[in-house]
């Protein structure tokens, strides 16, 4: 989660919110969350699991269309 926060602080194009899945099961179900951490980017489940910083940023860049 901290990586998401760091990215949001570093880039105005990024917003970051943590969602406690057991308190918000409807939202978690809507996105197909079955394990955590699950990262939803622009309303779509993007990836699941902790990843290194470089991979995390790469995933974001791909969502933003900056990478193929």
């Amino acid at each position: 989660m901290l990586l998401a926060y760091r990215c949001a602080l570093a880039c105005e194009r990024i917003t970051a919110a943590a969602v406690e899945a057991t308190e918000f099961p409807v939202a978690a179900d809507r996105h197909g969350v079955v394990s955590v951490p699950a990262i939803v980017a622009n309303e779509r489940l993007a990836w699941v699991g902790s990843v290194p910083e470089a991979t995390f940023v790469e995933h974001i860049a791909r969502v933003a269309g900056a990478l193929p």
Partner: protein
């Protein structure tokens, strides 16, 4: 429930000595999706009340932190905590997620980014907005 024990308070107070700028925190409370949960042992917990208590305790650990609490009657993803106007947490940041809210405060209290230069360069090249939601659990 007392969210923070003496050992945790001391450790977090030490971490907060790294804050070099003020960190405002906004806690928004309202009708909750799951207002009360019964834990093992039959004890009930109100997520909004517990979040407020936890944030009040964190605020006591640094003069750099300022907590504002707002209440609404409108339904929404409450409790919602916003650190420095940007870093959002929906729910009670308890268990392992205590480190998330403490980490958010620490990150917001820095003046230099903690990402690598390569990451910053990649993020600077983004031409589309990205809204991240990270689903977490306290265990």
């Amino acid at each position: 429930m007392n969210p923070l024990g003496e050992h945790e308070r001391a450790a977090i107070r030490e971490v907060f000595t790294d804050l070099v700028r003020d960190v405002p925190i906004l806690l928004e409370l309202g009708p909750e999706e799951a207002p009360v949960t019964v834990l093992a042992g039959g004890r009930e917990i109100d997520f909004g009340d517990e979040t407020k208590l936890l944030l009040e305790q964190l605020t006591e650990l640094s003069d750099r932190i300022d907590l504002t609490v707002m209440e609404t009657e409108d339904p929404g993803p409450w409790p919602k905590t916003t650190v420095a106007g940007a870093l959002v947490y929906h729910g009670l940041p308890w268990g392992y997620e205590l480190t998330t809210i403490v980490g958010a405060i620490v990150e917001a209290g820095r003046t230099t980014p903690s990402l690598t230069p390569a990451s910053l360069e990649t993020l600077a090249s983004l031409e589309q907005d990205v809204a991240l939601e990270v689903y977490v659990t306290p265990t």
